[in-house]
């Protein structure tokens, strides 16, 4: 059971917290992405799991074995942790051929010569690079280098595969291909994947679970769809989804058991709660979070707005509309386009609208909206 458990892991660089009191359990055969903006501590977390970075405090165990503990003064080196690490820039050794790159680690782990030969061949077939064995990395394309790097990482058969933004150096088309391959690979080799990325789309599409980190602190750890639909705070709501969530500054008023009114100078909504998760008081300032696809463009004259700009991409069109003085992002599905400066009505027909505390940014409630 290669399960990875992080307990109260903290990493400080000087006086700065890179990771703060991180608690995380990664289940066997999960494909977990560590997601967050750059500098949030996700790579540090990955490196602490790998053993390349030493936590300041806390405990990490892999497969039931404690690999690091500040209490018990345990700190196993990377090669004793049964992990593989795939680097962002592949880190292929430029002076070795593809074969040597894959074999070097195995030689060092004292594998027998024939075993190495077989394993390298096997790996070559797995990632489809069998014909490239005698080439040097400089003679390979980006995608091929990526495959070699994967083969090298997988060769010793690690129980856990750690990946640090492995696709960020590839062009968009290749990246798409590799995502497909990675997801298949995950199923084929039956190990646990931990994957660092700052690309929320990548995280959404690949992961079984997303671990969203901001400024060294774990914000939410859930399946992709839960994270998308039920963000615990404004940051999560904002970070996930493209185009990102609209936020309207409102005041909360007329609070009932299962509804309230949300007001600002231009707009006035009534929200019927579907779920509540925080305290609030009358007159409190909040953000109303609305995903672009939760606004519908209508022919009616309700909430008449002006088309500010429209960006059709074929399958869908991102429309910026101006409602009074506020610009909102709206996604219209299908092959549609809208001339600039025409009038259009808006409707709020789903029940996925979120209210966030303006100060703490925590989510207060979710529900549907009625427009006054």
């Amino acid at each position: 059971m290669p399960e990875i458990i992080l307990k109260d892991v903290t990493k400080k660089f000087g006086e700065v917290f890179a990771v703060k009191n991180l608690n995380l359990t990664i289940e066997d055969r999960d494909f977990v992405t560590l997601l967050g903006p750059s500098g949030c501590g996700k790579t540090t977390t990955l490196r602490m799991i790998s053993g390349l970075e030493t936590p300041t405090e806390g405990e990490i165990s892999i497969d039931g074995k404690i690999v690091f503990s500040s209490e018990q003064q345990i700190n196993l080196p990377p090669d004793k942790r049964n992990i593989g690490l795939l680097f962002q820039n592949y880190a292929l050794w430029p002076h070795m051929t593809v074969y040597q790159n894959i074999a070097f680690g195995l030689e060092n782990l004292k594998w027998k010569k024939e075993e190495i030969q077989n394993r390298v061949q096997q790996m070559g077939e797995l990632v489809k690079i069998s014909e490239l064995m005698e080439r040097y990395p400089a003679e390979l394309s980006g995608g091929q280098q990526q495959r070699v790097a994967i083969a090298r990482t997988l060769a010793p058969n690690p129980k856990v595969l750690l990946m640090d933004e492995p696709l960020s150096n590839l062009d968009a088309k290749l990246r798409m291909e590799m995502r497909v391959e990675l997801k298949r690979l995950h199923v084929e080799i039956k190990s646990t994947f931990v994957y660092v990325t700052h690309d929320q789309l990548e995280a959404m599409t690949l992961a079984t679970k997303i671990c969203l980190i901001n400024e060294g602190v774990l914000n939410q750890y859930d399946t992709p769809l839960l994270i998308y639909d039920d963000p615990v705070n404004r940051f999560v709501g904002d970070f996930i989804g493209n185009p990102s969530m609209n936020f309207l500054e409102m005041k909360i008023e007329k609070i009932n058991e299962d509804s309230c009114s949300l007001k600002n100078d231009e707009m006035n909504f009534k929200m019927n709660f579907r779920a509540k998760s925080g305290e609030y008081t009358n007159g409190q300032e909040v953000y109303l979070g609305i995903r672009p696809e939760d606004i519908q463009l209508t022919e009616s004259d309700k909430n008449t707005s002006t088309i500010y700009s429209a960006l059709p991409s074929g399958m869908e069109t991102i429309v910026k509309v101006k409602l009074k003085d506020v610009i909102l992002s709206v996604v219209a599905f299908g092959r549609v386009d809208f001339p600039v400066d025409t009038k259009i009505g808006l409707a709020f027909n789903t029940s996925n609208y979120h209210v966030f505390n303006k100060e703490t940014s925590q989510k207060i409630a979710t529900g549907d909206l009625e427009m006054f």
Binding site: P78, L85, A91, W93, H95, G105, N108, L109
Partner: protein, 597 residues
């Protein structure tokens, strides 16, 4: 307590930390501590001074030296005049080097000059050759019988005796140093001009600005930081030059700080020499620190885009061929003629008689007779020359090996700990020897290691002290190379091996060093060549049995045995050029690509 112990243990589990700490300790001992030693020596009575300072014993504390340098009857001749001369020489050298180097740089990058390739190659020649070779060549050409023994080639050919001011002292020193450093200015300024985004100038062309105005308003301001940096580096290099003023200045009693330092440290009044050395260290450090700041700023506003489109070249018109030919001729004269004169002089029996029957191989292959060669066997039969040659080689090899290896380690420790204060400190420490004028650096080692220090016995007269001083002095070349190499590599390349549990030694030998081989090799070879041609660093520390080629050259020159001196110069140049050529072919590195100096 256990927590601290534990932290320390984890800290030292990483090889880069162990290396960092060990190197810090060693380098502090070899660069910082000696400064205290030399400072102490400026207040101490030395054995040759005990009689001079009445009523004192060797080892007493005294203010005599400070007083003598700054406030005595001798101060003027001992210190103020040499200081003035030094500043004058350095400033004039800078002006000369900048004008000549800048002009060449502009002609090469901005005009339709002919023979560009040959000219830009030949231009580097005077810089690759040790500076004193040009001084020797000057003497061969222009010395006069007033002072310099036999008249030189110029007088022999034209019959015109050269005046003293032309043959010796300020004028030739500035010309020789200027010519030596002009290529340096050319490299720096030319580099900027070449990489400068030509659009900047083209934008002005479109606005119908005149050529002259473009140069004045756009080109010059942009190359200004390079000019300033060249100015400071040339200034500090000419300030620390020793051999050139010693060869050309001594006959007319033209003293600079280095020659005074050498004279006083050699027995008469070491305390005074240590004071001069200390002052030169302070000035040198100051100048190069300013330079670092300027370079830092220059990186700030980047006009250097690396994209150099084809700027329309200035058409030299009718004078194109003339100018090109004259430049080519001058460069050939500067780079080839000296070699010819060395060869010529080494075969000359009667001084000043250039007729054919006066040539003999006696100074190369003779057995040595008291009548002609003062008993000295010819260069090729001279066991002392072979010993010097062997010593030079062994020394340079050892220096290269140590400096190069430590350079890699410094690079590793600094790059791996980047951003940490200790890493910055090590970086600066490894660069520090570069700031110290060579002879002053020799002086601090003389002060530090000519007596027993703790468990380290007196190293004076041993080969070890030469190796030590050379290795530390040239460490900056190697550590620059090392830091760049490892930073360039990125940490992942190594971590990829850590993941497989590859040990540190194997990571270095199998991964890091093979990948960055060319850079590391240049980190070994630059110290080698520099050491091969070095004089002023070693001259205070050599003893007869540890003599090297350059110090032998200096001695032959002092004795007035011109033939031997010339023969040895030829030997050294041959070695330096050969190695520079090999290195250049193998790795692309070259002395002229070093950090200057």
């Amino acid at each position: 307590m256990t927590k601290i112990f534990n932290k320390t243990r984890i800290f030292f589990q990483k090889p880069e930390n162990v290396i960092l700490i060990v190197l810090l300790i060693i380098l502090i001992y070899l660069t910082i501590i000696p400064l205290f030693s030399i400072a102490g020596d400026t207040f101490t009575v030395h054995s040759s001074e005990a009689r001079r300072i009445r009523g004192s014993e060797v080892g007493d504390l005294t203010l005599y030296h400070w007083n003598y340098v700054f406030l005595s009857r001798a101060s003027e001749n001992l210190f103020y005049k040499p200081l003035f001369n030094t500043i004058l020489v350095s400033l004039s050298t800078c002006a000369f080097a900048l004008i000549v180097g800048g002009l060449f740089a502009w002609l090469i990058t901005r005009t339709n000059l002919r023979f560009k390739k040959v000219i830009s190659t030949l231009m580097l020649f005077p810089y690759i050759m040790p500076s004193w070779t040009l001084a020797m060549a000057w003497l061969n050409f222009f010395k006069n019988s007033n002072i310099g023994g036999a008249p030189g080639l110029f007088t022999a050919i034209t019959g015109i005796p050269t005046p003293n001011w032309f043959a010796f002292g300020f004028f030739p020193i500035v010309i020789v140093l200027g010519l030596h450093y002009a290529p340096f200015a050319y490299i720096l300024i030319g580099g900027i001009l070449r990489n400068m985004d030509a659009n900047l100038e083209e934008a002005a062309v479109i606005l119908k600005t005149s050529r002259f105005k473009i140069i004045r308003k756009i080109t010059i301001p942009i190359v200004m930081p390079a000019v300033l940096s060249t100015f400071l580096l040339v200034f500090s290099s000419s300030m620390s030059a020793f051999a050139v003023p010693a060869f050309l200045g001594a006959p007319v009693r033209f003293q600079v700080l280095t020659t005074q330092m050498f004279r006083t440290l050699n027995g008469v009044n070491p305390g005074v020499g240590y004071i001069i050395a200390s002052l030169m260290i302070i000035i040198g450090t100051l100048i190069l620190t300013i330079n670092q700041i300027i370079i830092g700023k220059r990186k700030g506003f980047t006009t250097v885009t690396g994209k150099s489109s084809n700027i329309s070249l200035v058409n030299l018109g009718k004078v194109r061929t003339v100018v090109s030919s004259v430049l080519l001729f001058i460069l050939i004269a500067i780079s080839v003629l000296p070699l010819l004169t060395f060869t010529l002089q080494s075969f000359l029996v009667e001084p000043g008689n250039y007729s054919l029957d006066n040539y003999s191989t006696i100074f190369w292959t003779g057995e040595g007779s008291p009548d002609i060669a003062s008993g000295e066997p010819g260069i090729l039969k001279n066991k002392y020359v072979y010993k010097g040659l062997t010593n030079s080689f062994m020394l340079s090899l050892a220096v290269a090996f140590i400096a190069g290896t430590v350079g890699i380690l410094v690079g590793y420790a600094v790059a791996k700990n980047r951003g940490k204060r200790s890493s910055n400190f090590l970086d600066r420490l490894a660069f520090f020897p570069y700031l110290i004028p060579s002879m002053a650096f020799g002086a601090i080692y003389l002060s530090m290691f000519s007596v027993q220090r703790g468990i380290i016995p007196s190293l004076y007269g041993t080969f070890a002290i030469l190796i030590l001083v050379g290795s530390v002095k040239y460490l900056p070349f190697a550590s620059r190379a090392g830091i760049n190499a490892i930073l360039q590599l990125g940490k992942e390349i190594e971590e990829a091996a850590v993941i497989f549990g590859v040990g540190w030694w194997k990571r270095m030998v199998r991964i890091i060093i093979p990948i960055q081989k060319p850079t590391f090799i240049s980190g070994y070879l630059l110290p080698f060549i520099s050491s091969m041609r070095e004089l002023s660093l070693y001259i205070l520390l050599v003893t007869p049995s540890t003599s090297i080629l350059t110090t032998m050259l200096f001695q032959y020159n002092e004795k007035g045995w011109d033939q031997y001196a010339n023969a040895i110069v030829l030997l050294i140049i041959l070695i330096v050029l050969t190695f520079n050529f090999i290195i250049n072919k193998v790795t692309g590195a070259s002395i002229d690509k070093g950090i200057g100096g």
